[in-house]
């Protein structure tokens, strides 16, 4: 099919990817007064803006229409083909004739080249020879939310221009672009990505899944937007400098198989006596398919050394699976997010430095995850009240239990109950790491508390929850001493709760199988209660009316003449009755007197 060459005749203007590219050129130009080499220039939309910056322009392309147009505008051009980059760059060098290169542009051209990697490599060498000139690219994003949604619907609409231009032979995602540029030796120095909430692929109009107003559209856009920052990027507009040598940063074809679980242990180094018990309980697990990340949050050098010494004293079969990660700043969520990035496990679980696992903790979670891959896995947690005993590092007991373990948290997950209040301690569940790394659903760092509840509720929506009625961990409640319950004021808890609910309300919430029935039952119960309440209120109203009428009648009677005239007789009768009781006390009054 012959394409109309004029289809690429785009004009420069504010709010276009060309303007973004020129902003980068003006910020990162190598030499003032040098030449900007525009590779695959087409109609040279940026030629005039380049000159306006006081730079010279050299357009390079093999398409005659664009070259002719540029010549007509008085621009310097070179007819050349990027299919033979070695030859082309010799010709470009000849054309430059020793003039310095200010910048190299590749705007919407790399995706048309079957030999893009080769071009980037040769260009790297050329740029190094030309005084390490920066490269500015503009490249369509094949992971724009519109394309993702349309793939879900089974649509892949190639078009004459745009994100799915029929002549594109390479498709770039954010990661893919990083990989290609890095492999050729280019290091990113700046970006001004061009975003469109609705791309040229936003058609047919009215497609339910595409429209941001529909629930499905909102949900899909929310998922995509949470996953990475490039959801609405139409073109990646980035500037690079040639590095000393290419770096081979290829993504592994098959991701490395990590352990089942990464256990995130938050510690501030303040509870050494319980921290060692947390580690001890992990070392003793009957399933060893896990690693431990000890997240040292704002600890000083002494505390850090103490933590490392404690870990190092364990047998290598365990200590070899423990990593120490230093975390600075932020609240309770920060270490967990840092840990998630460092983690290699397929699932993430939290065990704080005053929690202990029972021997089955990891094994039960793994069993559930194997039976329900991709779901949040949840098991029971017992809580035990303990009182703090003042103590120093490993020389005192530290604490004393004051009650046996109890299980106040429900063994099975009830979404409705959980929407009202958290009923799962942090150690009671594990989430797929993919939830954090692929869907961007980390722990909310703006929350001082409730960060675990917040994540659990968001995870419940997208993952669903598989649970087992077994106890796997012990959650300590401190009668005296510091825990998050005492370290934060009531108003902080209330504000955090409101924030969690508000976030859940902000986007559509996916409900699992069977929830409709659960909701119907709850609605029926509410209906029944309302009916009963209405009946009780009606009865109360009738009784109130009757009472009012009776009071009115009594008042009428007391106001009557006959009532007033008979008053002395009633008084005499009462005195007589009292006198009789004194002479002949009843059995009951006798008993009371003794």
């Amino acid at each position: 099919m012959t394409e109309d060459p004029l289809r690429y005749h785009f004009a420069f203007g504010e709010g276009t990817p060309y303007a973004h590219a020129m902003a980068l050129v003006s910020e990162h130009v190598a030499v003032s007064g040098g030449v900007v080499v525009d590779l695959g220039c087409g109609f040279g939309a940026v030629a005039e803006p380049v000159r306006e910056l006081g730079l010279e322009y050299l357009g390079v392309d093999s398409e005659a229409a664009g070259i002719k147009d540029l010549v007509g505008r008085g621009m310097e051009v070179l007819v050349g083909d990027l299919a033979r980059p070695e030859e082309l760059f010799v010709e470009v060098a000849g054309c430059l004739g020793g003039r310095p290169v200010a910048a190299i542009l590749m705007l919407d051209s790399l995706e048309h080249l079957p030999n893009a990697d080769e071009v980037l490599g040769v260009l790297h060498r050329f740029a190094c020879e030309q005084g390490r000139a920066p490269l500015v690219v503009s490249i369509p994003n094949v992971t724009h939310v519109d394309l993702g949604i349309k793939l879900l619907l089974g649509r892949f609409d190639m078009t004459p221009t745009g994100l799915l231009d029929r002549t594109h032979v390479r498709f770039f995602s954010d990661l893919g672009l990083d990989e290609a540029m890095g492999a050729a030796g280019w290091f990113e120095i700046a970006r001004k990505d061009f975003e469109l909430s609705q791309s040229d692929q936003h058609f047919p109009v009215g497609t339910v899944a595409l429209e941001a107003a529909s629930s499905l559209g909102q949900f899909l856009r929310e998922v995509r937007a949470s996953a990475s920052p490039s959801a609405f990027v139409n073109q990646f507009v980035r500037a690079y400098l040639p590095g000393p040598s290419p770096t081979l940063r290829t993504l592994p074809a098959v991701p490395e198989q990590g352990p089942f679980l990464s256990v995130l242990v938050r510690t501030q180094g303040k509870r050494p006596h319980t921290f060692v018990e947390t580690l001890l309980s992990l070392a003793a697990q009957d399933c060893a398919d896990f690693e431990v990340l000890v997240l040292c949050h704002d600890v000083n050098a002494f505390e850090r050394a103490r933590i490392e010494e404690t870990i190092g004293e364990f047998h290598p079969a365990f200590s070899g699976r423990v990593r120490v990660v230093e975390v600075c700043g932020g609240g309770r969520s920060r270490p967990l997010n840092v840990g998630a990035v460092e983690a290699a496990g397929r699932y993430l679980a939290v065990l704080d430095d005053d929690d202990v696992a029972l021997g089955n903790w990891v094994g039960e979670l793994r069993g559930l995850a194997e039976r329900h891959p991709g779901m949040v896995v949840r098991i029971g947690v017992a809580e035990q009240w303990v009182k703090e005993l003042p103590g120093a590092w490993d020389s005192e007991a530290g604490y004393e239990p004051v009650d046996r373990p109890r299980c106040p948290y429900p063994m099975s997950f009830d979404l409705l109950e959980h929407l009202q209040e958290n009923q799962t301690p942090p150690s009671g569940f594990a989430v797929p790491r993919s939830l954090v790394t692929d869907l961007g659903q980390g722990w909310d760092e703006s929350l001082p508390v409730y960060e675990d509840w917040d994540l659990l509720m968001r995870a419940a929506s997208v993952c669903g929850i598989a649970d087992a009625p077994v106890v796997g961990a012990l959650y300590r409640r401190w009668r005296v001493g510091e825990s998050s319950k005492t370290a934060h004021a009531d108003h902080e808890w209330l504000a955090a709760k409101a924030s969690v609910v508000s976030k859940l309300d902000r986007a559509p919430y996916l409900l699992g199988r069977g929830f409709v029935t659960q909701l119907r039952l709850a609605a029926n119960e509410r209906s029944d209660l309302e009916n009963r309440l209405a009946g009780t209120e009606a009865l109360a109203a009738v009784l109130n009316t009757l009472l009012g009428e009776a009071r009115a009648q009594v008042a009428d009677l007391r106001g009557s003449t006959s009532w007033r005239l008979t008053a002395p007789f009633r008084r005499a009768g009462r005195l007589l009755a009292i006198a009789r009781r004194r002479r002949h006390p009843t059995a009951q009054s006798r008993q009371a007197a003794t």
Binding site: L280, A283, E313, A397, P401, V402, R404, P405, C407, V471
Partner: protein, 324 residues
């Protein structure tokens, strides 16, 4: 073995006043375990942990020579390939490692007593195979025995702590739990160790401790000597117990009052079993009645109740109850 050296005269301090830690060089240590149908994984973890704790204690000079003795009451030898005994740390830590398949289920009392048979070290650490020792367990336990009046010291069990009370400052407690304790060899030789004729699985540690106290030693709980004991909880938060544990605990509820001069309690508990309507308990009661009829009751000890404590159904004050 029990009774061979019974000495029921209370003493002010330890019988000999000997302090292994103060003799020339650090005390020698024996670690002993009795296996019964344990998983390979559990045994491997236990051995790794106690080798680690023993090695650390040796490096810090808390103990000197160390040996490991394993007895096996399982129907078939569990450690047939003995590969885990060759774990680099186990091999490097212990000067000698022995493994004996008993060919019969001797229970914890009988198994440990068999292993006590050739005890020649200063200290003996009795450990359940379903435990995982914290790295400083041996250091902490031996530190308590620096006091010559202390004969036995037990560790703190996690995640499910034993509810038995102890003195918060001194650590004194009524008896030492058999899942993990360190005893002087002298305590074993003076008391004769456990009493396998009377106890099989439960109550043996209470009896051993009380006889040690009658012989003049104190029993210590050391909360910094941490040991993970693989106990599980039901969804109600109650300790999971096996049928065997239930059975031998019930027997101990009669045998201990018999031995410690509380026939009234023994009779009350026996009658309760008989009237319980619970077939296993009634069967236990029949067996105990038969022992009573045959005159196989133990010689009563501690007639003045100086060491034996019977508090509700427990053998010491408890800090909290596992029953509601």
């Amino acid at each position: 073995m029990a009774g061979a050296g019974d000495d029921t005269t209370p003493r002010e301090a330890g019988p000999s006043g000997a302090d292994p830690a103060s003799s020339v060089g650090p005390p020698s240590l024996r670690v002993q375990l009795v296996l019964y149908r344990n998983s390979q994984g559990a045994i491997e973890r236990c051995l790794q942990s106690i080798a680690t704790a023993s090695a650390l204690a040796r490096r810090r000079g808390a103990v000197g020579r160390a040996v490991l003795a394993i007895g096996d009451s399982s129907p078939q030898p569990i450690l047939s390939d003995r590969a885990m005994l060759e774990d680099s740390l186990v091999g490097a830590t212990f000067d000698a490692v022995s493994y004996e398949h008993f060919g019969a289920n001797l229970g914890s009392a009988g198994g440990n007593n068999r292993l006590f048979g050739d005890l020649s070290e200063d200290l003996v650490l009795v450990l359940n195979p379903d435990t995982y020792a914290s790295p400083r367990l041996v250091i902490e336990l031996t530190a308590s025995l620096a006091d010559p009046s202390i004969g036995i010291v037990e560790g703190r069990q996690i995640p499910v702590e034993h509810p038995k009370a102890h003195h918060l400052e001194l650590g004194d407690t009524g008896w030492a739990c058999g899942a993990c304790f360190l005893a002087r060899a002298e305590v074993v030789s003076v008391t004769g160790g456990f009493d396998p004729d009377l106890f099989f699985l439960y109550g043996d540690d209470v009896d051993f401790s009380w006889r040690a106290r009658l012989a003049g030693w104190r029993i210590m709980h050391r909360p910094t000597a941490r040991v993970f004991h693989d106990k599980r909880l039901t969804p109600d938060g109650v300790l999971e117990v096996t049928d065997a544990e239930r059975r031998y605990a019930a027997e101990a509820a009669v045998l201990l009052p018999w031995r410690y001069s509380r026939p009234d309690l023994a009779e009350r508990n026996l009658a309760a079993f008989e009237n319980s309507g619970d077939a296993p308990l009634q069967s236990i009661a029949r067996g105990l009645r038969e022992r009573q009829r045959l005159g196989q009751l133990p010689e009563p000890l501690d007639p003045d109740g100086t060491v034996a404590e019977f508090v509700e159904d427990n053998f010491a004050e408890h800090r909290f109850s596992y029953r509601d």
